[in-house]
Symmetry: C2
């Protein structure tokens, strides 16, 4: 395999309950070369969380100054805290030829699409809406009102699948990961990711 | 796997000596669902060749009237005969949701690109130029002049890789086929090939 001139940003996204977290964890376990995009946040670190590994923990002032300098691919204010994806880390890794994985909700992915449309966008789907509801219920931490709100929201968010490049149905996690691995393999073979294929072939021989 | 609303035309192309024929044969053997695009020609059938299977054998008048009616995705006049890819067969199969494979030289692929740019274009590369020369020599049927001409031609044709979507290096045939299978799997997961993903998910359940 000829190595890419530049890597790419791989967005794995979808409504709550589609299993983004589980799928991304399995994908990273099987593909040690994929770099996970670390988010910045203003919330306090929880026990065991490491700065630069789980999150970049920054102050509210710092975060807002980063917003002003357009240093985020996307960000959101949730409850009382900011969360965002710093551009610099992602771009540096891509320049080095790495594949950077960003696990993100639908609203966040749509923001990234505006700022960096050349990323590869994958929409994770539940096998059925029934199963989506079961998964939301089985988290077991939410009230019925919360469950219904999340379900309604997921239902609406399915409309945004048209803004993505690919979709993957997460019925069996291993199959979803195999689908994503095929997408990654194909994207690595894209001519546009290789600047001097002819010379690379020539270098191999005569 | 949700089935595609429409199939697609898969172009496997590259200079002489890159092993298009061998790769396509192996790909078809392993994937019985891929439909091979049958060319039309004005040359006489050879012993054992079946009309509609190996080629559509047509008269020169018929071929020229098809050219006038713009019924080819591409065609060429080689020595004393015409060869071409009839649009109708390809388009009918794609409408039915099939993947149609067209094995074709670089000039032909560039013509298809002009007429039907939504096809998926794969450029087959030799592992090295040395190996390409060996393969051309090992056909054993050509004079040294022919070999050199073919080699020079292949060298020039590498410049057109930029017009393709993907490239695949044909070092070991099985690996090249696995690369192409990953591309096919990814292309099937493209959102644009599915017109009503949301409804299909809904149909599955609630």
């Amino acid at each position: 395999m000829i190595s890419m001139s530049k890597g790419f940003l791989l967005i794995i996204s979808g409504p709550a309950g589609t299993g983004k977290g589980t799928v991304c964890k399995e994908l990273l376990k099987r593909n040690k070369d994929i770099v996970f995009s670390v988010s910045a946040t203003t919330r306090q670190p929880r026990v065991g969380e490491v700065d630069g590994l789980n999150y970049y923990f920054v102050t509210k002032d710092k975060f807002e100054s980063m917003i002003e300098k357009d240093e985020f691919l996307e960000y959101a204010y949730v409850h009382t805290n900011y969360y965002g994806t710093p551009k610099e880390f992602v771009m540096n890794q891509i320049e080095k030829g790495e594949i950077v994985l960003l696990e993100i909700d639908v609203q966040g992915a749509l923001q990234v699409k505006k700022n960096f449309s050349e990323a590869v966008f994958i929409f994770l789907l539940p096998p059925t809406m029934e199963e989506l509801k079961n998964r939301i219920i089985n988290r077991g931490t939410e009230t019925e009102e919360d469950i219904n709100r999340r379900y309604e929201n997921a239902f609406k968010e399915l409309d945004f699948v048209g803004n993505y490049d690919y979709f993957v149905i997460n019925d069996v996690v291993e199959d979803a990961v195999l689908d994503i691995e095929a997408i990654i393999k194909a994207e690595k073979l894209r001519v546009k990711r290789h600047s001097d294929i002819k010379n690379k072939v020539l270098k191999g021989g005569k």
